[in-house]
Symmetry: C2
Subunit: 463 residues, 2 copies
Amino acid sequence: MSTTIAAISTAPGIGGIAVIRVSGSEAFSVSAKIFKPKKTSFSLLAQEANTISFGNIVDNNNEIVDEVLLSVFRAPHSFTGEDVVEIACHGSIFIQQRILQLLIENGCTLARAGEFTQRAFLNGKMDLSQAEAVADLIASTSAASHRMAMTQMRGGFSDELQKLRTQLLNFVSLVELELDFSEEEVEFANRSQLKQLVIEIEQLISRLSDSFRVGNALKNGIPVALIGETNVGKSTLLNVLLNEEKAIVSDIHGTTRDVIEDSIVLQGITFRFIDTAGIRDTRDKIESLGIERTYQKIEQAAIVLWILDCTQLSEHIEWLTERIQKRSEGKKVILVFNKIDKIAEDERDVLSHLFDQIEGERVYISAKNRLNTDALEAALIRAAQLPDIQPGDVVVNNIRHYEALQQALTSIRRVSEGLESGISGDFLSHDIRECLHYIGEITGHISNNEILGNIFGKFCIGK
Amino acid sequence: MSTTIAAISTAPGIGGIAVIRVSGSEAFSVSAKIFKPKKTSFSLLAQEANTISFGNIVDNNNEIVDEVLLSVFRAPHSFTGEDVVEIACHGSIFIQQRILQLLIENGCTLARAGEFTQRAFLNGKMDLSQAEAVADLIASTSAASHRMAMTQMRGGFSDELQKLRTQLLNFVSLVELELDFSEEEVEFANRSQLKQLVIEIEQLISRLSDSFRVGNALKNGIPVALIGETNVGKSTLLNVLLNEEKAIVSDIHGTTRDVIEDSIVLQGITFRFIDTAGIRDTRDKIESLGIERTYQKIEQAAIVLWILDCTQLSEHIEWLTERIQKRSEGKKVILVFNKIDKIAEDERDVLSHLFDQIEGERVYISAKNRLNTDALEAALIRAAQLPDIQPGDVVVNNIRHYEALQQALTSIRRVSEGLESGISGDFLSHDIRECLHYIGEITGHISNNEILGNIFGKFCIGK
């Protein structure tokens, strides 16, 4: 922690300007060695906080590397909580690297990915869940993911969680104090007050934990399994859906090719298509590899889009229906009758009745003729069951938090049951401590180098 | 000029932070509409220059878009010479574009490429050649190109040129005054002083104009034509040269694929290889398309690398030698005897004598066995004839400047001749005015929208 770190903080590549960030106790003294101010009366070490100075970066031979603007921030009033200098230079790659090199030659260490934010966390500028939100914020590409990250970065659920954690910590101390006087059967911890707190905590954790479905869907997209026998028009439909949206998705730079090819954004919600190999009608061996794989894909999906060819139903359709129904439990199924233009109006009802045992919407389309595909999109949005996220809405979208919340929920429920059944103080204390531990993992009160390494390693360099 | 412009000034893409620049008379008032400072007592309009403030960017619904640092610069003490606000936000693409969008919704115009620098020029913060150096500086990828751009941005030759231009302007006024008194044969302009000034100007312009060979070579690389008959080992040699250097070149991000494939950097000098189709030994039709194209490539090159197969000289070699010699006039030729491991020591001299009429170094190599390729590299560096550029050395590397200098040289020489032959004042004045015009084109005292559009259109957005 005693090192002074430096990194290029702006996006890699050529730009009008670039910013190099320096943080640590030597930030001023190292910068002063390479910065020659325009004003001769200037002293970097004495420079007022939150001010900008114009000058040159010079190398050891006094050759000018660039004309720069140098911003000064003083501990603890900086992003990291340490002394920070930001050097805004011309955005040439040569200049960026040269300045970084000079900083390192003069005593700085190259910052690891996320190290600035990690220091902000370690210096108490933000808790761990807020620090994680910084990475989410930088990666955000949609209004919904941006809004969630912003809420979390600004405190989100951690304030509330932290308040309840402190109260719980008080109670557990009292319970543990009782143990010292176990002979005397005293109760320092008011059990009915504790019960009330436990209920409150359980409610909050439940609510947060439940929000993960929405948060995760908004962050990572809703997985949709596209299933159906071969030749029912699956890939035509996928292409229609993708093509209509491709232009919009492509507008967002930085989205990966994967995302562009397999996802669509409808009303701000991302749907990720898990394409399955068509179920081949292998007659006597219908339980073949194909259908097993399809089952696995259904497992991963939240929505099952089952495409059927109106003009030609497999002879195994009943058998298949039964199995797909069984595998789709707890998922939203949309039955998509394709090639609807090829059959008469009254045939639809007959068709639909064949699938009475399948719950879920029916949509009648012609993928090839782009008939009624908007109805399919509307059905997808309904099936997503996602509420509008408003600014300030607390939504958990981080799998690490979700897992900790699940663990915390289990322990707090054990506490609740223990209170009901009047278990002894030592068991009660153990369960409360466990709950405190998992809550602490979210806020970062409980952390270790491995956890921190995992979290901050995913950041970009310079943040 | 009355609009307030905004653009993302950092490199495109995701980064830790990004900077959005706003310049113009409305920079403060527009920014104030979307910036909510942390300090309630804060007023952006009254904010002291060169200071940084922490706060939120909010949209019209008061939803927080990001937590940002806002830097304030006041006219004329800013890059553009106007009021400038720089918003440092989290480097998410979504956030960058959202903030830019909010600025535009609130009255800013999206800046054109180079518009910030163009305003700096128009507001007298720098002359035109300095403004052009900003683009060179951002594009610089080697120490030499960086050093040239930095010297030019910091004044370079324009100061000196400007001083002489002012003196010449005084003289031409006096000469023109004489014309009003033409009946009286007065001489307000001291002819011997004028002669002295003209000599001085001619020397400076000559010197600058001559430096273009070096400047252009350092900026764009030295073109090397790689010629030879088919199967002499041309592509093997090219691959050896490129492979050895590829790692170094690839280290410089942002270099184009072209550069990586066809250029090498030796001791800071870039050599661009112009690969030619092998001269095919078509016997009766040797003057075919192939050799014609090779001649054209030789035209474009400064160095001709003629590869010969020691073991097998074409029967047309004498004929070819004569032609290549004729076409290579004024260029450096390097004769590269390849497959040297295949012949005896004493055969070398015999071989070499065959080419006595070709001036230039001889290098004996085996490309395949990487034998003596370092000698070839050394020969290339000698053939480049480039002096080391020292910090502060004035070197012209801009074709626009070079062309204007050439024109100015022609006119100043006409002035000089005119003075010798004692031509009449009106002719003298005309020639001086022409010289002033061309010098003014470099510094930007003479400019028009077309010239400016050409120059600044090549900049990146946000600079």
